[in-house]
């Protein structure tokens, strides 16, 4: 088969101990038998390791932080597009998604396709909106409350029993076993990510996760269930294994069909000893462990790109159970000249 040439731009090149999904996403796209893909990295920081992985990323450009606003971002993407002629752009960070969703029509105007959740889908699955989400779609969720200042901790905690989870709006989650820890954790997370902060009931059980892709019309294009086998001190999976769990896949189908989810997603759930599932989080993008889905027979990154191109994708109906991923660290050696080029010219 003659491979089609394609240029895909993506973020999340921070392949660190709390990795972004960029590199595993890219590996999936490069595994495609249909595309001959040029990868354009979009980076926020000079030391995102993916920038220097030239076997995976052909060229990288700095882009402005989401706080700079859509206009600034769009101008930068337009500049990059004039050089690279991007076909598909896949953002991978929760915090940047909103900006890209807002800019998607403008991106389309300059020939760049995206495949993102709608603003409504993105908003309603927010950690702070999870109780409403659970009610609306008939999914069990842990009790949670959102606080907007440190003063609300004491009154809010009257409705909870310790331990509780303290979660940032986008990132970070810690467990608190007493009021002192709750206060300290709220301070720590708010100092880093600001308010609101979510206080969430702790559900006893085993955490299970699903990476999935919705076509935007209610069909699950693919879904792979995984259990973390090794978790880092940041709560990230360092190893995991695919599971045969029909109930979990059914629940995923239910969520995708009801929400008509568009794009990649990660469901984080707790399976109780009574085999009940509590949805604790929906991440509105493919997760950093997405390459496990590729290894298990569902190339979701490739499917996402095809959906973005407006092509029909036949839904996957199976995956290999018992496939493991084990992350590793690796010292990439590069030259100061590379760092210099990126620092001075914002591209490499």
């Amino acid at each position: 088969m003659v491979k089609r040439n394609l240029t895909v731009a993506t973020t999340g090149l921070n392949n660190i101990d709390n990795p972004g999904p960029g590199i595993p996403f890219i590996r999936g796209v490069l595994d495609s038998q249909e595309f001959n893909t040029k990868i354009i990295g979009l980076a926020y920081e000079n030391l995102e390791p993916g920038i220097y992985m030239h076997d995976l990323v052909n060229k990288t450009y700095h882009i402005p932080y989401p706080t700079a606003g859509s206009d600034v971002l769009l101008k930068r993407i337009e500049y990059i597009n004039n050089i690279e002629k991007i076909d598909v752009l896949v953002p991978n960070f929760d915090a940047e998604l909103y900006t890209f969703m807002k800019a998607s029509a403008d991106l389309e105007d300059i020939g760049i396709k995206t495949f993102l959740p709608t603003v409504e889908q993105y908003e309603e699955r927010h950690k702070s909106n999870l109780p409403d989400f659970g009610d609306k779609y008939g999914v069990k969720v842990p009790k949670s409350k959102t606080i907007f200042s440190e003063n609300e901790i004491e009154s809010t905690m009257k409705d909870f029993r310790y331990p509780v989870f303290i979660k940032g709006k986008f990132y970070d989650a810690t467990i608190a076993y007493n009021p002192e820890q709750a206060r300290a954790n709220v301070r720590k997370i708010s100092a880093k990510w600001g308010f609101p902060i979510i206080i969430q009931e702790n559900i006893a059980g085993t955490e299970v996760n699903v990476v999935a892709l919705g076509d935007g019309e209610g069909t699950t294009v693919g879904a792979v269930a995984m259990r973390k086998l090794y978790i880092t001190d940041k709560g990230k999976a360092w190893a995991g294994i695919t599971l045969a769990d029909e109930n979990l896949i059914e629940l995923t189908d239910k969520i995708i069909s009801q929400t008509k989810w568009r794009g990649g997603m990660e469901l984080e759930l707790i399976k109780t000893p009574e085999n009940e599932y509590y949805l604790i989080e929906i991440n509105p993008r493919l997760p950093a462990w997405v390459y496990l889905s590729v290894g298990a027979g569902q190339n979701l990154p490739e499917a996402l790109v095809k959906l973005a191109l407006g092509e029909n994708v036949k839904p996957f109906d199976k995956y290999e159970v018992g496939k493991l991923f084990i992350r590793y660290s690796y010292d990439l050696i590069t030259d100061i000249n590379e760092f210099e080029k990126l620092s001075l010219y914002a591209e490499l």
Binding site: T206, M226, L229, T242, L243, G322
Partner: protein, 81 residues
């Protein structure tokens, strides 16, 4: 007694539960007992087979087998009926 459908047992004694992702190592006698369960032998029949084959007193065999089946149920290798 039935082995959980999602459990795979290799000849080496490695057990993988595809439903939970858990894995265990079982010694050769443990594997032998699971093979008997797979052949639909009753607990009494298994006990007799083991008593004929190994030098073990009846009370010790009874206790060990009960403990083993209890562990298999705890880890969902054996279906709880």
């Amino acid at each position: 007694m039935k082995i959980n459908k999602k459990v795979a047992l290799s000849e080496t004694g490695f057990v993988f539960d595809a439903g939970t992702g858990d894995s265990y190592s079982i010694n050769p006698i443990g594997v032998e007992i699971i093979e008997y369960v797979k052949q639909n032998l009753t607990k009494e029949e298994i006990k007799k087979k083991l008593a004929d084959k190994y030098d073990v007193s009846a009370p010790e065999l009874e206790k060990s087998l009960d403990d083993y089946f209890s562990a298999l149920k705890t880890f969902n290798i054996l279906d709880n009926e």
